[in-house]
């Protein structure tokens, strides 16, 4: 089990870097979908037997449906619907964001040395992987100009938070489900993007154009 969990988490981290480096929005959306699907394996792999098996399965299934299928599907639909161009158009270039991501990885791994998991017997790779994913998400939101790419960053951030949620799943299972509310945001964003389009107030979904309000 250990090696399977490690493998999943390393892949999650690699996918973070892939998203940071990808210049095509559709490819990035699919990468995030893959990441979500991988994460949905974790509840099952991490199950200690302390939780009801049905609950674990539902959590995994829910994560798969929401993170792996529904939200990415919605985003791809929005891309088609709003005829969004496929380039990601970053503010910070791909190589710098990749390097920032790598730097974040190093920091996350060294920080996680200090963050000892209170409950022993857990996977040590979980904390750094979650931190890296959250950091990558923040980076994406901050360094991308396009609304879709920002929403994608939010999804990645959410994935990182989801991993943290798994750590407390057997102590406070309710909190993990509360995280689903974040997906509500993502859905709202996607709807907002489509609305942008329908509204025709902004001919491109470049948040750089959202500059009417400033000092």
């Amino acid at each position: 089990m250990t090696s399977a969990i490690d493998l999943v988490l390393v892949l999650v981290v690699v996918l973070d870097l892939v998203v940071l480096a990808s210049s095509r929005l559709r490819g990035a959306i699919r990468t995030v979908a893959l990441q979500g699907a991988l994460l949905s394996l974790l509840p099952v792999l991490l199950a200690t037997g302390g939780q009801a098996p049905l609950h674990v399965l539902l959590l995994a299934l829910g994560a798969l449906v929401v993170k792996g299928v529904a939200i990415p599907g919605l985003m791809l639909w929005a891309m088609r619907e709003a005829a969004i161009r496929r380039e990601a158009e970053p503010i910070v270039g791909f190589v710098p964001s990749l390097l920032l991501g790598a730097a974040g990885t190093v920091v996350a791994f060294s920080l996680s040395g200090a963050l000892v998991l209170p409950a022993p017997g857990r996977q040590a790779l979980l904390v750094p992987a979650a931190l890296v994913t959250a950091w990558a998400g923040l980076l994406l939101v901050m360094t991308r100009r396009k609304a879709v790419a920002q929403v994608l960053g939010f999804l990645v951030l959410e994935n990182g938070i989801f991993v943290f949620g798994l750590l407390i799943a057997d102590v406070m299972p309710v909190m993990v489900e509360a995280g689903v509310l974040l997906d509500l945001f993502a859905a709202v964003f996607v709807m907002g993007i489509v609305m942008f389009h329908i509204n025709r107030e902004f001919s491109s979904l470049d948040t750089g154009r959202l500059t009417h309000l400033q000092d």
């Binding site: 939010f154 102590v171 974040l182 945001f185 509204n199």
Partner: protein
């Protein structure tokens, strides 16, 4: 009792959404406010024990925020009658039910004794206010709503991460394995330190974003600038107070765990930074509502400074929650009236508001004086308490910095407000149909009277409550 306070407005919101339309829908706002306020008043007289498995309960800090919100909501509800009547072309279904839902969420946040529940309801306030921001259905309000949601969602996500960290710090051997505030406070020193510190930083960033502390304030001028006056008042007086309460909860837990100093230092820094940023952006600000937004950043900074100083300044900060909330109500509602009457919120267009709007114009001026801490208004009392507390505890440099920033802000804000209020309105497109009415001018006047009253005489119960709230965070 407590669940009723939360569920009542929610039921009314559902009713408002279900009603086919007409004048009755907007009256539900007043009905909700009139049911809510006595309920809150009853909490003052006889605080009930925690209910709903300990998830809901009353404490001093929560009651302060709740009372402010409730009083503000009543004023906004009455004002909204006039506001919505003046805009019959806009569908008020979402507006009315959204406001009631936000009231419910704010009540739940103020009463919440569980940090998970707190997070959920703060998130709901974010989601609930976004469609209200888009009430005018134009490009600018869409942009404001987008930015509000984007920045707000990041804050909310960080706050959830912080909540998870907190849960992890509490789930070690001997930990309370719960997110109930009393459990966490009681467990204090047995919480895992590194996780607790991480949790505090994330909660501060997350809820600090909701509060609008610099450097997380980017959404505030845009959202407040485009929000209808009612919503601006509720955001600046209610939502920020509740977000401040959430930060206070985090400080409370740190204090109990012996990490109080760790928690206070960044608060103090962010507070001073916020005041500085507000001072810079208020200078030369030509947009009235954006000016008020930066004033809100300033006052959130002041709250953070008060709690960040610790000691004698803290009770002043809690008093300031009430004073700031009510004053923001005066300012936003008055500014809304000015905006409507002139069809603009720019001082290039808005001139001589005192002549065209004999009530709202002077009201804006009085609100400005109150917000900048001039006697005899209430914020003077609380700001004085914060500064005096700082000096008393030997933080002379902080006190000097705060006073200097307050002086700069007074001048900067005064320049813009005076330009709008004084002078000759000129011939430019008078909109007489949007003059002062009882329903739109009355509520801010009432709020101003309350601010004046609190400035002249602080009720003993209120002072006691502020002291009690301060005691939980080392004041």
């Amino acid at each position: 009792m407590l669940p009723l306070l939360v569920l009542g407005p929610l039921l009314l919101a559902a009713l408002a959404a279900a009603l086919p339309g007409g004048r009755w829908r907007r009256r539900l706002l007043v009905a909700g406010a009139l049911l809510h306020l006595p309920g809150v008043a009853a909490l003052w007289l006889r605080p009930p024990p925690p209910t709903a498995g300990g998830w809901l309960g009353v404490d001093a800090a929560g009651l302060l925020a709740l009372s402010t919100t409730s009083a503000l909501f009543l004023a906004c509800a009455v004002y909204a009658q006039g506001y919505l009547a003046a805009h019959p072309e806009r569908d008020d279904r979402i507006f009315v039910s959204g406001l009631l839902a936000v009231l419910s969420a704010l009540t739940a946040a103020a009463l919440s004794r569980h940090l998970g529940l707190l997070w959920v309801v703060v998130e709901l306030t974010t989601l609930g206010t976004a469609p209200l921001l888009y009430f005018r259905h134009d490009g600018r309000s869409l942009e404001a709503a987008w930015k509000y949601l984007m920045v707000g969602s990041l804050g909310i996500a960080l706050a959830l991460l912080g909540t998870f960290f907190l849960a992890l710090s509490a789930s070690g051997p001997g930990g309370p394995r719960s997110l109930l505030l009393p459990d966490l406070v009681a467990a204090g020193p047995s919480l895992s330190r590194p996780w607790l510190r991480g949790a505090f930083v994330l909660l501060l960033a997350g809820y600090g974003t909701k509060m609008g502390l610099a450097p997380f304030h980017a959404w505030k001028p845009d959202a407040y600038g485009e929000a209808p006056g009612v919503l601006g008042a509720l955001l600046a007086g209610g939502v920020t107070s509740v977000a401040f309460l959430a930060v206070v909860r985090a400080v409370q837990i740190c204090q109990a765990a012996g990490e109080g100093a760790f928690a206070r230092a960044p608060l103090l820094g962010l507070g001073l930074l916020s005041m500085g940023v507000a001072a810079i952006f208020m200078a030369g600000q030509r947009d009235l509502k954006r000016l008020l937004a930066y004033s809100s950043v300033e006052h959130m900074g002041l709250l953070a400074v008060g709690v960040g100083l610790g000691g004698a300044a803290v009770s002043g900060a809690f008093l300031h929650v009430v004073n700031n909330g009510l004053t923001k109500g005066v300012l936003f509602l008055a500014a809304g009236n000015v905006h409507r009457a002139f069809g603009s919120k720019h001082v290039d267009v808005v001139r001589g508001a005192a002549r065209r709007l004999p009530v709202s114009g002077p009201l804006l001026l009085a609100g400005f004086l109150a917000a900048t801490g001039s006697p005899p208004f209430a914020p003077f009392q609380s700001e004085f308490a914060i500064v005096a507390g700082a000096i008393h505890d030997g933080h002379g440099a902080v006190a000097a910095a705060v006073l200097a920033l307050l002086a700069v802000i007074f001048v900067a804000m005064g320049a813009t407000v005076l330009r709008a209020v004084q002078g000759d309105p000129g011939e430019g497109a008078p909109r007489p149909e949007f003059g002062d009415r009882l329903l739109t001018a009355g509520p801010p006047v009432a709020l101003l009277l309350a601010v004046l009253l609190l400035g002249l005489w602080v009720p003993r119960a209120l002072a006691a409550l502020a002291t009690a709230a301060a005691a939980t965070v080392g004041g």
